[in-house]
Each structure stands twice: as C-alpha cells, then as structure tokens.
C-alpha cells in the first residue's frame, strides 16, 4: 500500500436565495453536451434543471445524479423558511416518476459530468448572479477494501438464493468482462 491516494472533489454550491430563475445554466449545459459541441440547444437535455415555481417563490437548480430504476416507495416534503418544497424537488435521480434528466427522444438517463475538460462547470461560469459556485478540495481516497464486509454480503446472498445460483451469476458476470 504505502502512500495514501488523494482524490479531488468538486462541489457546486447552490445558493437558492441568489437564483433569479434565468435558466442560463440549462442553456449552456445543453449546448455543451450537444454533438458536435454547442451545435444545438435544448434545455430538456440539460443535466441541470431549474425547478421553478415563481408564484410560490420556488427556485431550485438540481443536478442530474444516478439513475433510479424505480420510483421511491415513500416521498418527502420539505418545509424550509416558510416555504414548502414538493416531493422530489431536491432529488438528483433520473427516475421514472418524472421527465427530468432523460433524453427527450430516447429516454436514456442523463448525468452531470461537471463539464469534463473545462476549467469549471459551465453552469457555474454562466451563473453570474452567483447562485452557483464551484469549490474544489482534496480528500484522502478510501481505497482499501474490507474483505470481511464482502464476505458478509456474499453469505447473505447465498443464504437467499443458494451457492450454486450465486456461483453461476459470478461466472456469467466474469465472462462479460
């Protein structure tokens, strides 16, 4: 093992009070991710979306995270500073429950990649009101794998499905490479 590995964490800070709802973040995101780059514009393809309800003063930019294959069983509703935010507002998932973060034609999920190759995410660059700012920090990378945890997980799977099925599954996954 020896020296500790470092990893860079990019964090976008979202200040809801500073957002003016202009959706420039959506504009530049969808342009950057067009193919060829910047050749088209379509906020429906953006990996950042504004949840925007002006009359209720709800302005929440949300970034696309992991895909959720199924809807949550339960939902949350947040009350913050006298305002009630609907269920799913803060969730980053591309999820069957809503049309956010899915390609409008194919339905394939979208995920924020922090604009790889750019100095900073372009949504941050285009947000000159300061609602979106980017911070970088270094962290020690947790690289070690705890084999006891792996063993415990496998044991519970074997208990449920039987050793043979699990061995088959492992073999099948390995073949796919």
């Amino acid at each position: 093992m020896g020296e500790k590995k470092k990893k860079t964490i990019k964090t976008i800070k979202i200040d809801l009070d500073k957002c003016n709802g202009c959706r420039a973040c959506e504009v530049i995101c969808s342009a950057f991710h067009a193919n060829p780059k910047y050749s088209s514009n379509n906020p429906a393809r953006s990996r950042i979306r504004m949840i925007r309800e002006p009359i209720r003063d709800i302005y929440v930019p949300v970034y696309a995270g992991e895909q959720a294959k199924a809807e949550c069983m339960g939902r949350d509703r947040y009350a913050i500073g006298g305002k009630e935010y609907d269920e799913c507002v803060f969730c980053r998932a591309s999820c069957p429950s809503r049309d956010l973060f899915r390609e409008p034609d194919s339905g394939l999920p979208l995920k924020c990649d922090m604009c790889e190759g750019e100095i900073e995410p372009l949504c941050v660059k285009w947000c000159i009101t300061g609602a979106l700012t980017c911070e970088e920090r270094e962290e020690d990378a947790a690289e070690e794998v705890n084999m006891a945890d792996v063993g415990a997980g496998l044991e519970s799977l074997i208990a449920k499905y039987g050793l043979e099925k699990i061995a088959d599954a492992v073999a099948r996954i390995s073949r796919k490479g």
Binding site: N20, G21, C22, R23, A24, V27, I28, A31, A34, P36, K37, Y38, S39, S40, N41, N42, P43, A44, R45, E53, P54, I55, R56, D57, Y59, P104, W126, I128, T129
Partner: protein
C-alpha cells in the same frame, strides 16, 4: 436543416378550428430576419388594409426572434403583431419571459391566428401535438390565475402560458397579454386576443434548435457575457441610475424614487409634484418595497434582474417590472406605495397596460372635476382617491357605464365625450397614451423619435445616445473613450460638441442632419432587436450595451449560416423599417399624424420642426408626406409595395404624394 430558426409556423384558423404546421421560405429569413421583420411581411401580404382590428380578417401573430433559443443572452422576446384597435395601425407589442423560447423548442417560429373562435378557447401546444380546447370555465379568471389553472389542468408544470384577463375578454383597448413576469401591454394586443376568443396559449417544447457554426457562436456569447459582467462594475457616470447600467429600468431594485416621482407629470397631470419625496415618504416606500418584494427575477437566459415577485398580505402573488410600481399611486394622488402594489395586483389579474390605464383613470377624474363628466357618470363611486381608482378600474375592465367609453383610451373617449374633453387627452401620439413627461426646451432628437416612431412608445425607440449633453468636456471625452458601439466616428463628434447652452445646444444642435443620423442609429438597433428577439435592455435601450451593429452581423452569421456583414444588416433594417412604414401608410398614416403632444415641450419652434421632419423624411428616402418613394422601395427589394402604392394611388408615377387618402381621413 434550418439553423437559428425552426423553419415552421403554426397556422391556426379559429373560425374553422383548423391547425396546420407550415414550412416557411428560407429566402424570407435572408430578407427580413424574423420576429418583427417577417411579421410585417405577413401583415402586408395577408391582411387587407381596410380590415377592422376586431374582424376575422385581422391576424394575431406570436413570434419568436431569429436568435431566440440560441445561447445568446437575452434573446427571449415574443413579438406580438396585429392591427391595434386603438391606433388602427400596426401594433407590435413585445414581452420577455419564457414564452418565445418554449414555442421555438416546440418546433415553431411563429403562431399565426386568423378568424374568430365561436366560443372562448385556449390553445395547447406540446411539440407536434396542438389542440384547441374549450375555455368557458376560465372566463373571467385573472390573467395570472389562468396561467396556474391551465398548468394544473394539463398536469404540465413546465408549460409556459400567455393569458388575458377580464380586460382582454371585454376588448378593452389597453388590455395586455400576461405571461410569467412579462406582458405585452401596449396598443391593445390583449383586446385582439380576446376578440378572437383566445383566453390563453400554453406551450411546452422539448426539441432542439440548431446553430450553424457552434464554436464561433459560443466565442461571441462568451464575449457578451464578459462584457455584461464588466458593465456591472462600471456604471456610466454622469447619468441617472436607471441609465447607468444595463437592462430595462431597474425599478424593482432601486428604492430611491426622488427623480421619477418629482420629474414626471404622473397620471394625466401637466405639472410636477415638487418636493414630493420627503424623508417620511422615502422611509415608508422603501420599507413597503423591501417587504413586498420576494425576489428579483429574470427572463429566459438573461442575467439581468428587471422583474420581481411581489407578495402582500391578503392577496395573491404576482410579478412586476418597470414603472407600474409608480404609475397607479402617482396618478391617483395616493401617496402610498402599498396602494400602488395592491391596485397593480388587481390590474395585472385583469390584464391591463400599467401606463395607459392609470393615465385614463386620471383623465376621467380630471373630466369629473372639470364638470365634463357628471355625478351620474360616477354614480356609486367612492369619494376617496383610492376607492375612486379601484372603482374606475373595475368599471373600465367590465365596460360598465362610463367605463365602456373610457375603455377605448383617452383619445377615443375624448372624442365620444366631447364637450371639450379633447383638451384633456393631451398626452397622445397617434391616439396612444405616452410617458407622462412635460419638458421645457425642445430636443431635436426626441422630437423626431416622438413624431416618427411606429412602436408609439418612446422607450421603444430611444437608447444608445445620451438624452442630454454632459456639462464638461472632460466628461464627454471620458464617455467617448470606450464607446465602441457607434456605427460611425461622427457620433463622437456630435456628443463632444453638444453643449448645455449657447450656439451648440438644443434645439438647434444637434442640427437636423445630425439629429436624423442619431435617430436612425437608435431606430436601427431597435428594429434589429425586434427581428432577432433580443431584449432592448441588453441592446437598443441602454447606453453602451453588449450588442451593437459591429457584433450583430457575426452573431447572425454564426447562428444561421447566412452570410452577413454590417452593410447587409443595415439594408435589412432599412427594408423592415420601410415595410413597417408601408403597412401603416396603407392604413392611412401621413405627415399630419407625426406630431408630439402639443404641450410636451413648452418652447416650440414650428419652422425648425418642419425642417427636422423634412430632413428625416429625405434621409429615409420618403416623400414630404412620409411615404417611401418608388426609388427607395425598389432599392430595398420592396417592388411589391411600390406596385401596390401605385395601384392604390398612394404614390403616383411622378412620386408626388396625392392628397391624403379618404379612408385615412374618416378615422381621425
């Protein structure tokens, strides 16, 4: 593939209930760009000049601009075009917000309505799916309320909705179309929408809009973003705060209203309210504004924050921008901003223009005080200033009693009331209520803009050039140092030589030739903006804006692939300017209509004024009646206009204008 635009219009015949998606001619984009340019062409081609604004033949266009949906900041305007019930001329009122982008993402450059619906309807456009839906259940609902109700009914929270309120349904001449934080308020476009039986249009679009040369285009956008940021830290010195920065007047941000409250002749007044802005008023108004204002808000893809969400206890939330904050309180002589916000909320739900409505109500109050309107006309009206304004607002939007007459605006109301009421309608140009200003010395540039502007509203014509000279040479030199927007170096000289007093001061300096140059530049930028769908707040309205005649051709080329340079763009501007003029000439517009309100300036110069108009007409290639000559029209590929003018006898072969057409005269 089309770039910048979708290449399709949505044609809706309300009489028959038919909907068509029609491909447009790319050649027209090269000639007229889009937005106002192509709207004017459609109006010329398709609406007979004798059509009444409230007839099925009149059409109502909701258009995006050519740069709309590109990443160019601020390209979000919806250009609404029709014949105005008030001026009887071309109306091209506009709104910002999110409507035009949503429409273009749905796959359409314009919606063109013709005919009249038998019942009240709303239109639902969701990409390729377009429906005309019954809206009887929305009759009488507020314009803001309707937007929310439709979103709920459709279960599409991201749908953008443009709606009219009671005023539009009742064809009130100052009815607006409301949409989010924005509204198309001027010239009665909401009344035409109501006449056609359209309560609202809801749109949701998720298609792509393409850019021809992406890398080049993004470089230009980055430059503009950088410039906007740099202007934020560098306000123009020596001018009042609302002229120092970018955007439309930052009325939602600023709380100091000393200048505006004390220098405008609010409502229908002829005098200023000097010393209005006392420390008590200042404290009170500031507290009201800061507590009512929930957030400063923007239009689509624009960093400026010209609007605000306004929320007061006991009433529903709405959005506001520009001067509606002041117009009602000041016109009613109610020295409370709380009243202003509250009545504006009701007015926004009714869907009315925040300039014309308070002016018309103040006009009615004056007529009552002068004994021209009677107690019988005001039967049931409360006697206090606040109550009286609410009462008048309710009567006008419902067209009840005296409200029915006032609903046509001050010009037509005065004609109907008679008994000397005409003298009280003192603030109109071409029958439309103007910004309430009364000044002393004639300003030649403003004289020309007031006279000849076809958007009928000075804020939609002015910009670029300072409104008054800087007192010292040092200030002037400082101003011109980074004045990259000038189309020609001569404008710097005009500004350097312009003095507050003496030979080189108003009204004889700028000279008629210089004044014409300056006006032409200002007009040019507005016409280009209105065709590109760019907000004037980032281009034609403020001093030293990010967009100008030098970078616009590159934006257009990179977005659309059309080969564009400054000369070509200037020709397109002249073509559109002349076509708009031609549409109005065919509707009867002549020199006699081109005059400012009688008392706008105290000091008038009849001979100079004639000279100014002559010089301007000559520069434009128009005859002495303000009609484009055959030569001018042919140079601009407007032969079809010249032929029509000759056929109708508007122009003769000798190019002299005949006597003013009879049809034009009957309406005046």
């Amino acid at each position: 593939m089309r770039y910048g635009e979708t290449g399709f219009n949505l044609e809706i015949d309300l009489t028959r209930g038919t909907i068509e998606r029609v491909e447009t001619d790319p050649g027209l984009t090269e000639l007229y760009l889009g937005g106002l340019g192509t709207n004017a062409k459609i109006m010329w081609d398709r609406v007979p000049p004798e059509a009444d604004p409230f007839s099925p033949e009149n059409i109502l266009i909701f258009s995006t601009g050519l740069l709309c949906c590109s990443p160019a900041p601020g390209a979000n305007r919806t250009i609404v075009t029709t014949y105005s019930p008030q001026t009887k001329l071309l109306a091209y009122s506009m709104m910002g917000g999110v409507f035009a982008p949503e429409l273009k993402f749905a796959g359409y450059d314009k919606i063109i309505f013709r005919g009249k619906s038998p019942g009240l309807v709303y239109i639902w456009i969701h990409n390729d799916k377009v429906e005309i839906r019954a809206a009887e259940h929305l009759r009488g609902k507020g314009a803001v309320e309707t937007q929310e109700l439709i979103r709920k009914e459709l279960k599409v929270p991201d749908a953008q909705v443009a709606a009219i309120g009671l005023a539009g349904e009742n064809r009130v001449f100052m009815a607006s179309i409301e949409q989010g934080r924005s509204s198309a308020s001027r010239l009665g476009v909401g009344a035409v929408m109501g006449d056609k039986g359209i309560k609202a249009i809801a749109v949701r679009g998720t298609k792509d809009v393409n850019i021809a040369r992406p890398a080049e285009f993004m470089k230009l956008c980055d430059e503009v973003m950088g410039y906007i940021k740099s202007r934020e830290d560098k306000p123009v010195p020596g001018v009042m705060p609302i002229l120092a920065g970018l955007g439309s007047p930052q009325e939602m941000k600023h709380v100091d209203e000393k200048w505006h409250t004390e220098n405008f002749m609010w409502g229908n007044a002829r005098v200023r309210r000097k010393n209005f802005w006392t420390p008590e008023i200042e404290e009170n108004w500031k507290a009201t504004q800061l507590s009512a204002r929930k957030r400063l808000i923007s239009c689509y893809n624009c960093p400026m924050k010209c609007g605000a969400t306004i929320s007061l206890p006991g009433m529903s939330t709405y959005m506001m921008k520009c001067f509606s904050k002041l117009t009602y309180s000041m016109a009613a002589y109610v020295d409370s901003l709380d009243f202003g916000f509250r009545i504006a909320q009701r007015a926004t739900e009714y869907g009315v223009d925040g300039f014309s409505m308070p002016q018309t109500m103040a006009f009615a109050v004056e007529l009552k005080e002068a004994g021209i309107l009677t107690d019988a006309d005001f039967a049931g009206c409360p006697s206090d200033n606040e109550g009286r304004f609410y009462w008048l607002l309710d009567r006008i939007v419902r067209r009840e009693g005296i409200g029915d007459i006032l609903a046509d605006g001050t010009y037509w109301a005065a004609q109907k009331i008679g008994k000397g009421a005409e003298a009280f309608a003192h603030n109109n140009i071409k029958k439309h209520e103007q910004l309430p200003l009364k000044l002393s010395m004639l300003n030649p540039v403003y004289y020309l803009m007031y006279c000849t502007g076809e958007k009928m509203n000075i804020t939609q014509i002015e910009g670029q050039f300072p409104q008054s000279p800087f007192p010292t040479m040092a200030e002037r030199e400082d101003f011109i140092r980074d004045w990259i927007q000038v189309p020609d170096e001569k404008f710097k000289r005009y500004l350097l030589d312009w003095e507050l007093r003496g030979e080189r001061s108003n009204p004889y300096y700028p000279t008629p030739e210089m004044a014409t140059d300056i006006v032409d530049w200002q007009e040019m930028m507005h016409f280009i903006d209105d065709s590109l769908g760019m907000c004037a707040g980032l281009s034609s309205f403020p001093l030293k804006p990010p967009y100008h005649i030098h970078n616009y051709p590159r934006f257009i080329s990179a977005a659309t692939g059309i080969d564009m340079d400054e000369e070509k763009l200037k020709t397109i501007y002249r073509r559109t300017r002349n076509l708009v003029r031609a549409v109005n000439v065919r509707r009867g517009l002549r020199r006699a209509d081109e005059k400012p309100p009688e008392d706008h300036w105290k000091k008038r110069f009849p001979e100079l004024e004639e000279n100014l108009l002559d010089t301007y007409y000559k520069f434009k290639g128009w005859n002495s009646e303000g009609i484009p000559t055959r030569k001018t029209l042919r140079e601009l590929d407007l032969d079809y206009v010249a032929e029509d003018f000759l056929k109708r006898g508007i122009l003769t072969d000798a190019e002299a204008a005949p006597a003013i057409a009879d049809t034009a005269k009957t309406e005046k």
